[in-house]
Structures are given as structure tokens and as C-alpha cells.
């Protein structure tokens, strides 16, 4: 598969999975909050295109895209949203806590900023053991308000750790624009001030993100190059949490979204592929999605006894 085909498959797959989540949501089969990344897929896809399967990724409660791009199991994800025993956390995590350790996707947290230091600590272990792996750390612009962001970056820079920090800057934390929370708009400049080389990508082009991420990841892999920081501008099309739109709330104008919707990366990459190749990809993805939702539907809910398991890891 060409890079364009690979990227398109990922983009299309994530977009369609989340459209399906949004479609079924009003029927209450998913009885927990969902934070969709529709419109933001290209960031996770570009970043993960630069990774190897053995690399690790840490994300946020808005991690459907990262989980899938990193190779997380689709059936287990949908089953988790449905609260089923076959979910990636047996129904005990939900959409905000996706995890697939086998795919290198570590558990996401609903508390903003909490996984940034986890990526740093994981990278410390990788470096200590001289493994040729890198750690991807994805978070939103809101997370960069938090003190733990600065503390974590400082430590990663100090120890020259193999972390690729990636800020998905969609300009909003819930309904509050970045300009109402931060005096300086360039988040990458703050990373630079801490001694981390950084760059901002304005248009969420997955090829540009992949190229930059690959160069950084390959440079830091197994060596002393230290962390890199990518600020990826992007835009959330849906409401902060839930399946709908929220332009009626008044905190943002639809006109702000229009350039992003017009420049939709899913459509852009689609246009680069020969029609028959594109059709083959889409057909395969649709079948996979139908299978995953059917799997979730027919999977059982956890037994009552499951409430009590996993509080501790039991001795073997």
C-alpha cells in the first residue's frame, strides 16, 4: 500500500467509526459520554504513520482517533462504548479510558493533562533500557494550561527522553477559546523556551505531520537527540462531548469551522487516490465497521461478579 492509501484507509476508517457512534448514540446503546474527534482525525493519523508497532502512545479522553490510528482493536473499542464484557476494558472504562496495551496504546484519562507525565516516564524506561522505541504523547491545547505540562516537558528535556509531544490545538477547552486562557498563542514557542525543538503545522495535513513526526522519531530513536514538540492546528466539528453540533450555543461561529470543513483532510486525501483503489478501501472499512458494531451488539454485558474484579492485580 502507498502512503496515501494507508493514510486514507486510516482517515476514512476513523471518520466512519465516529459517524456510526454519532448515529447510534441517540438510541442509548452507548450510555456514557463520548468525545468525538470528527474533523481532527488527520493529526493522529499523521503521527501514527510515523510510528512503529512497538512504539507507545498516550492520549486523552478524546482518543478514538489515536486508539484506532495506533492499531487499537476496533471490535474491542465499540464493545467498550457499549459497556460490554468484550470491551477493551471489559466495560469498566468507557470511551474516555480506551486502552490496548498490545497495540502500544496506553490507557487514556478523563482528567486533563494527567497522561503527559506518563509518556515521559515511559520514555525514561525506554531510554534506560536502551530500546530503539519512541513514545508519542498527545494532548489538547487545554492541557497546556496545566502546570503538569511544563513540569513534564522540563523533565523530558533535561533527561533527553525519546518523546514526541503532539498538541492537538483545536483552540478550545470545552467552550473556552485559547485566547481567554493563554496570553501567548504559540504553544510550540513555550516548548522551545523549555529547550525542546518545536514546530507548528497549520493545516493538519497528515503527510506533513507524518514527515515531521518521522524525522523527529527516527532521530530520537535509541539515542540522545531528546524530545520534539509538534503543535498541530486542527478543528473539532462536533460539540465538546456528545454526537451533535453546538454552533447554536454561541461560543463559536460556524464560519470559524467552514475553512476546516472545506479543507477536510479526509476528502483531500480521497481525491489523491484512483477511484477503484478508494472504493476498495472504503468497502473493506465499511465491512469491518459493520462487523464491529454487530460484535458489540451481540456481546454480553459483564456479569455482576465483574464489579469486584480488577481492583487489584491478583497474584497468579
Amino acid at each position: 500500500m502507498s502512503e496515501a492509501a494507508r493514510i486514507y484507509r486510516q482517515l476514512y476508517r476513523i471518520r466512519r467509526v465516529e459517524e456510526e457512534v454519532a448515529r447510534v448514540y441517540p438510541t442509548d446503546v452507548i450510555k456514557s459520554p463520548v468525545h468525538l474527534s470528527i474533523g481532527q482525525e488527520s493529526v493522529s493519523v499523521g503521527l501514527c504513520e510515523a510510528l512503529r508497532p512497538e512504539d507507545a502512545a498516550f492520549g486523552t479522553y478524546r482518543s478514538h482517533a489515536l486508539y484506532l490510528a495506533k492499531g487499537g482493536n476496533l471490535r474491542a473499542m465499540i464493545a467498550e462504548l457499549y459497556g460490554k464484557a468484550t470491551g477493551c476494558a471489559k466495560g469498566k472504562g468507557g470511551s474516555m479510558h480506551l486502552v490496548d496495551v498490545a497495540a502500544g496504546m496506553f490507557g487514556a484519562s478523563a482528567v486533563v493533562g494527567t497522561t503527559i507525565p506518563h509518556a515521559v516516564g515511559y520514555a525514561y524506561a525506554v531510554k534506560l533500557r536502551r530500546e530503539p522505541r519512541v513514545v508519542l504523547c498527545v494532548f489538547g491545547d487545554g492541557a497546556t494550561d496545566e502546570g503538569v505540562f511544563y513540569e513534564s516537558l522540563n523533565f523530558a528535556a533535561l533527561k533527553r527522553l525519546p518523546v514526541l509531544f503532539a498538541c492537538e490545538n483545536n483552540r478550545y477547552a470545552i467552550h473556552t477559546h485559547q485566547r481567554l486562557r493563554q496570553h501567548l498563542p504559540e504553544i510550540c514557542a513555550r516548548a522551545a523556551a523549555l529547550g525542546i525543538p518545536s514546530e507548528r503545522i497549520e493545516d493538519a495535513d497528515p503527510f506533513a505531520i507524518a514527515a515531521r513526526a518521522r524525522a523527529a522519531a527516527d532521530a530520537m530513536r535509541g539515542g540522545d537527540a531528546g524530545p520534539f514538540f509538534l503543535e498541530c492546528m486542527t478543528y473539532r466539528w462536533k460539540e465538546h462531548v456528545g454526537p451533535g453540533e453546538d454552533y447554536a450555543l454561541g461560543y463559536r461561529e460556524r464560519s470559524e469551522a467552514e475553512p476546516w470543513i472545506h479543507g477536510d483532510q479526509v476528502a483531500k486525501v480521497a481525491a489523491q487516490l484512483p477511484p477503484d483503489e478508494r472504493a476498495r478501501i472504503e468497502e473493506a472499512v465499511e465491512a469491518e465497521i459493520a462487523d464491529a458494531f454487530a460484535f458489540a451488539e451481540k456481546s454480553p454485558f459483564p456479569d455482576d461478579a465483574e464489579l469486584w474484579t480488577d481492583v487489584f492485580r491478583e497474584a497468579p
Binding site: 482528567v111 467552550h175 460539540e239 455482576d304
Partner: protein
């Protein structure tokens, strides 16, 4: 008393509004207080009325903003700092426990820290591990902090006003499922001061103490119990610190049976504190049987079946209370009754 009716949200909102009108040193801030959803409406209209100097949304910075609140208080302001989930207070623990709680004492009474910290406990619609915790016992543990957990609109307003007027740090514990509850809500400002529990239903067989939203379940349990001839006395502690031990003990002295239903885990929790304080008080005077109920001793799961098992409900409370009264496991579990189920909310949040 006025006959006006209102919601828990109305009570919280009106309290802050009236105090801000009365006292120019009151300020209100926190993540999202000025956004279109206005913390489920509890801060609606404040920024329009008082301006962005006195009412403002903050960056995501729980630790620093708690310290900022303390600094404001040292300078004579009375900040109300709002958090949309109690779980996020864990990021503010250092400032709350090491500084706010201790300043008056460790500076020999030379300063006070009159801050109010509002936070909401989540429940239902898959709130899950990190949006469902009732962590107030952490604060009850620490001298120098006061903790209010009002359960109805009247007390939401009265506790909030008392909290703002208090010269000490006060934690306001709110519950997402109580927000739509309606009840009497007098218009003129009034205080519901610390240290006075309230008897909400009288009965001689068993005392039910319910904390925060668990009180609502206790009131329903009381009806289930009445159906089988068990008369439960239901007590709302209202303030958890300081706690009205005498008020609760007076009821238990009468019934000899105490069920404390918590909206948190029982281990080292508020229910442990209430039960032991009552037992200490009544020992040698009255033989007392005790039962504690609270969250299952696990993390809160979002999947609906397990989530239902995680919480005590009106039915499981009634069953436990009846067993305590009869002194044996009766195996009784009341049937659902349509007038005794909580209206949970439909998501996403």
C-alpha cells in the same frame, strides 16, 4: 417562610448573586463559570451583572487557581472557586490542605482564608472512574476546613450564603443528580449554618442518615420501610464538618439502630466517622446496632448494570435497615415503586 419554589440550581445561583450584591469583596471564578452552559446554570447571569473583574472563567489550572484564591482572600476578597467535578479537587489538595486549612492556625490567628470551593459529584450516564467520586471525607479529615453537603434547594442556598460569610475555607459539596430537584426556596437571603442536622422524617425503629445524594435515596427507602411497618427516622447532616453528632445521637438514643448511607466509599469515610462518633457518645447509655452503606469497594464502572450495583439504592437501603431492625437477614428486597426512583440524566454529561 416564603412559599416560593425553586431548584437546587436556583438556590446555588441565587445565593452567590445575592452575596455578590451585598458584599463587593465576593468574587466568583473557575473553569467554565462564564461559558454558555454556566455550570449547569448555577453561574448564569453573574458575569453580565457583576462584570469580568468579579466573575471569570479560568485556565485549566486547579492547583494554581486555588493558590490564587488564597492570595485573594489574604488581600480581603471572598472568592468562590467552582469546579465541575469533585474529582478535579485532587489537583488542588496541596493548597487546600497545606495552606488554606492551616493558615489561621500556623500564622497564630493573624490571617484568615475565607474561600468557598464548590464542586459537583457526578452520577449516572457512565460518569465512570474519574467523574463520580465523593471525596468529602478527605476534607472532613483536616482541621481548618468546613464541609457542607446540602441536599435540597433551601439548604443549597442557605449553606452557600453561610459559606461565603464564613471567615474560613468551606468546601461546598454538590451533586449532579440533586441539581434538578425542586423545593421551597425563600427569596430573601438566609444562612444554613454549620453544625445543625435536620430530621426530615420521624420514626422510632431505625435512624437513617444520608449524605448528599444518598439522602434522597434514604427518603425513598423510608417509604419502602413504611410499607412493611418499619418507622424510619431520616436525618440530613447538612454540614459534615463541623458535624452535629448530638443531633444524630439524639435520634439513635431513641431508635437504637443506625444506618449511615454514604455517597462515597465506607472505608475511612464519612459514614465511619458518623457511626463511631454516635457510638462513642451513646456507649454505656444505649445499645446500638450499626450498618454502613456506600459505594461498592471498587472503582465506579460506566457500564449500566455494574454501575447500578455500585451504588446503594432506596431498595437496598430499605432492605439493610429492615434486617437491622429485625436483627437477622430477612431476604426482603422491596419491589420497585414508580414514585421512588431517581430521574437520572440522559447524556452525554
Amino acid at each position: 417562610m416564603s412559599e416560593r419554589d425553586g431548584s437546587y440550581v436556583d438556590g446555588l445561583r441565587e445565593a452567590v448573586l445575592q452575596e455578590m450584591e451585598r458584599d463587593p469583596s465576593v468574587v466568583c471564578f473557575g473553569l467554565d463559570v462564564d461559558d454558555p452552559k454556566a455550570i449547569q446554570g448555577t453561574t448564569r447571569g453573574l458575569v453580565e451583572k457583576f462584570g469580568q473583574g468579579r466573575v471569570f472563567g479560568t485556565p485549566l489550572a486547579e492547583d494554581a487557581m486555588t493558590g490564587v484564591a488564597i492570595g485573594m482572600a489574604l488581600a480581603g476578597l471572598r472568592p468562590v472557586h467552582v469546579h465541575i467535578r469533585m474529582d478535579f479537587l485532587l489537583l488542588a489538595m496541596n493548597q487546600l490542605v497545606n495552606i488554606a486549612a492551616k493558615s489561621s492556625y500556623m500564622y497564630g490567628g493573624s490571617v484568615s482564608v475565607p474561600i468557598v470551593v464548590r464542586s459537583m459529584i457526578g452520577k449516572s450516564w457512565g460518569q465512570g472512574a474519574q467523574h463520580s467520586q465523593g471525596l468529602y471525607s478527605y476534607f472532613m479529615h483536616v482541621p481548618g476546613l468546613k464541609v457542607a453537603a446540602p441536599t435540597n434547594p433551601h439548604d443549597a442556598k442557605g449553606c452557600m450564603i453561610a459559606a461565603i460569610r464564613d471567615d474560613n475555607p468551606v468546601m461546598m459539596v454538590e451533586h449532579r443528580l440533586l441539581y434538578p430537584h425542586r423545593g421551597p426556596l425563600p427569596e430573601a437571603p438566609y444562612e444554613v449554618r454549620p453544625g445543625r442536622a435536620r430530621v426530615l422524617a420521624q420514626g422510632g425503629d431505625v435512624t437513617l442518615v444520608g449524605i448528599s445524594h444518598a439522602l434522597a435515596e434514604c427518603l425513598r427507602a423510608q417509604r419502602h420501610l413504611a410499607d412493611v411497618g418499619v418507622a424510619a427516622e431520616v436525618i440530613d447532616p447538612i454540614w459534615l464538618a463541623p458535624l452535629d453528632v448530638d443531633g444524630i445521637a439524639a435520634s439513635v438514643a431513641k431508635t437504637g439502630r443506625l444506618v449511615v448511607v454514604d455517597n462515597g466509599w465506607t472505608t475511612c469515610g464519612a459514614s465511619a466517622e458518623i457511626a463511631s462518633a454516635v457510638l462513642e457518645k451513646l456507649q454505656g447509655q444505649r445499645d446500638v446496632r450499626v450498618r454502613r452503606l456506600g459505594f461498592a469497594n471498587t472503582t465506579c464502572p460506566p457500564t449500566p448494570g455494574l454501575e447500578a450495583l455500585f451504588y446503594p439504592s432506596a431498595r437496598t437501603i430499605a432492605a439493610a435497615a429492615r434486617d437491622l431492625v429485625e436483627g437477622r437477614a430477612t431476604g426482603w428486597l422491596p419491589a420497585e415503586r414508580a414514585d421512588a426512583v431517581e430521574i437520572e440524566f440522559r447524556g452525554p454529561f
